[in-house]
Assembly symmetry: D2
Homo-oligomer: 237 residues x 4
């Protein structure tokens, strides 16, 4: 049950211009089981008993064996997504100078535009519910594109007047800016992230990244852990 | 040498609409010395020997005693500042729902405007050097204010059309948005932050916060540690 | 509802020669509430609503506000206790050279002797259940004291032959050796420790320290948090 | 320059009954370089420029790219070694129930005996220097073996009287007990460990583990990083 090699380097599209790519990985379900196994001989006791032990571990919160597995992703996401992601301090983040906005200028195709205009929820002050009308949506799309173009033109104008890149970016609609980062995290802390960000209460722009990580990578790489996660961490909430 | 009580609650203005306030603190120079002292009796051996021991500790990188002191600040800063700050994963961040932009709408006085328009450095791709001409600056000021007003009007318009707050904020010049957070950090990790962010290479918008923390709080609260920091961590770079 | 000042410096005896002392503390129940409060004005909304918010936070695992409170203890405990304690990597540990066993020799009153000889549980391979007979206990007490004396004599003999302290300690019954350390931890991670170590499955020699921390310090310092902890973290297990 | 596959699973003997084995690894020198590279295209710019960039990173303390590489070792070492190792809180430790001393009894071949009896240093209170005479050493060897046998007999006797394993171990010379753990750490934090533990001031019983890690694994797996480490972290001390 080694890491499926076809997962390494696999890229999944997310949002209009974003993506997630698994750069590297260390460990699998069996590595978790063996880290916890009494006999410690490192060999399988047969899939049935191995899986049962893994379920036992997660159910009874013997979580440290799950820290033995590491994921390393390359992620392109808008700042509105990263702004929530970075609160998870157990990830290691590696930003890229090229896209810091200080080193090289942003490009005009670096902006995120939503596919649907979600409406403000009435009952939950910090959530969305449904979408605005098609008519409204079309008008908002046009307004947004025009605003992005205008903001970007002002940004370029400031650069041409000699303003430092780090300052000219004040003109930009920064929540929409795409950044590419490398993030590294162990399986336990990734599950904490997923538990929070797969939830319906999570903002759509981060939920789709959580979903892509879970469905396109985590579930294939750690099938038993995924099953245990769904039973003991997702539903328990 | 207890924590100077006049520091607790003290607020210092930073940038045009920001500030830093020391909410609470635990420990002082003597707490660091005692954490390291062999006799461990917790009492001073006289200022001279105490100070000498503290200097010895920092010089020889016996850094764990410096983790015994904690600072808790309330900080209001624009996103361009936080965007760099959050990379320091050893801080504990506590954001405030009220200002998440998801819970309540932003106000039109929540935007940062620079006092000077720094020019792009020629030699260092990611730095600024000097400022643009007074004439240029005046024009840029006007452009920025107009752009902020226009962006904010679009944001309000989107809200009125029923768009969720979490999505309407795509119209905002987000780097300029002020957020108020609580940050907690121990003295050792605060020194790592200061070492990096007091540097001339740090962007102005975070350097002024680092400077305020250092000059208005750190130096008064931990005078010996500050002296040792300047000798062994600042100059050594 | 500030930190009860009589708690700072209070010392509680644990086991035959150990103790816990609260050296310092930062924050209280209200600091947790205010860290999370939307209005963020930092003032109480009345005890009833404050307490209700705090309960809501813990129940729904909005745990970061609980990281805002810090405890700093001085603890004297035998190695058998520390050996389990140090697995909790979220504590900051500050050992004391004086007692490292490398710097100064151990004393002959540095050994832990149990008050009761717990018997091996039959059903749970790694637990104890009940005690051995009074007759057996008396004999074991004598054997242990004699063994400690003999081991210590060999240790002193090795030192006198010029053996390095760091090596001579191989002769010592090290699990019984008392060490005094400073530990610092935030309230959230302290609750994770307590959840695990207050449990009946925890070894007695660490459970009594957890209990002392909880009953003699935590409950007085953070009465609402303690109530919420019992409801949502202890019983949920 | 991928991870040399012959390193995975390789085991190196350390001390009389201990060893280190590389269980798994993620990343190599090039992964570090690419994490930092501006172009971020993930491909080599030729060994010369790649290596130069890596050296630049470590010299100027741009250390986060070094966190992208992970090592996972299985280590068998006596408690006297672990007792120092566990202070490095950036390692992830995975103990093994089988050897906790609570789950199964210790065996009589689980004890460490030194090959040489190092003498106490006169100038440095916490170090050793030279060895005792051959005559003394022979006598100490005999004393130690006899003491181990006697201690172990008392331990077995306590177990036979029904004492819980977790308590009977008070009779054991615990510093000598071998434990097998899995430790996981990133390359940056491993270098901090090595910097401290390769030093002549480190106790022999941990220095030999640091040396084995460095010479048998680290240097082969990350040759450029090792070279930079020697230049900027080892000698700088």
């Amino acid at each position: 049950m080694p890491v499926p090699q076809e997962l390494i380097g696999k890229r999944v599209e997310v949002l209009d211009r974003g993506w997630i790519e698994l750069q590297d990985m260390m460990g699998d379900d069996l590595a978790i089981v063996n880290a916890a196994r009494v006999s410690f001989l490192g060999e399988s006791k047969g899939p049935e008993r191995d899986k049962k032990l893994l379920f036992y571990l997660l159910q009874h919160r013997h979580t440290s064996p799950f820290e033995q597995v590491e994921f390393k992703f390359r992620v392109r996401a808008p700042l509105v997504t990263w702004w929530q992601w970075v609160r998870h301090r157990t990830f290691h983040y590696q930003s890229v100078n090229a896209q810091s906005g200080r080193y090289t200028p942003f490009q005009d195709d670096d902006f995120y535009a939503p596919q649907a205009w979600r409406a403000q929820a009435r009952t939950n002050k910090q959530a969305s519910a449904g979408t605005v009308s098609a008519q409204e949506a079309a008008e908002l799309d046009a307004l947004l594109q025009e605003h992005y173009a205008q903001s970007y033109a002002l940004y370029r104008q400031a650069l041409e007047r000699g303003v430092a890149r780090e300052l000219a970016r004040l003109f930009l609609p920064a929540f929409a800016l795409y950044y590419t980062w490398i993030v590294k995290v162990d399986a336990l802390n990734l599950m904490h992230f997923l538990q929070l960000r797969l939830s319906r209460e999570a903002q759509y722009e981060i939920r789709v990244y959580a979903r892509a990580i879970y469905e396109e990578f985590f579930r294939s790489a750690l099938p038993w852990t995924a099953e245990a996660f769904e039973r003991f961490m997702l539903r328990a909430e």
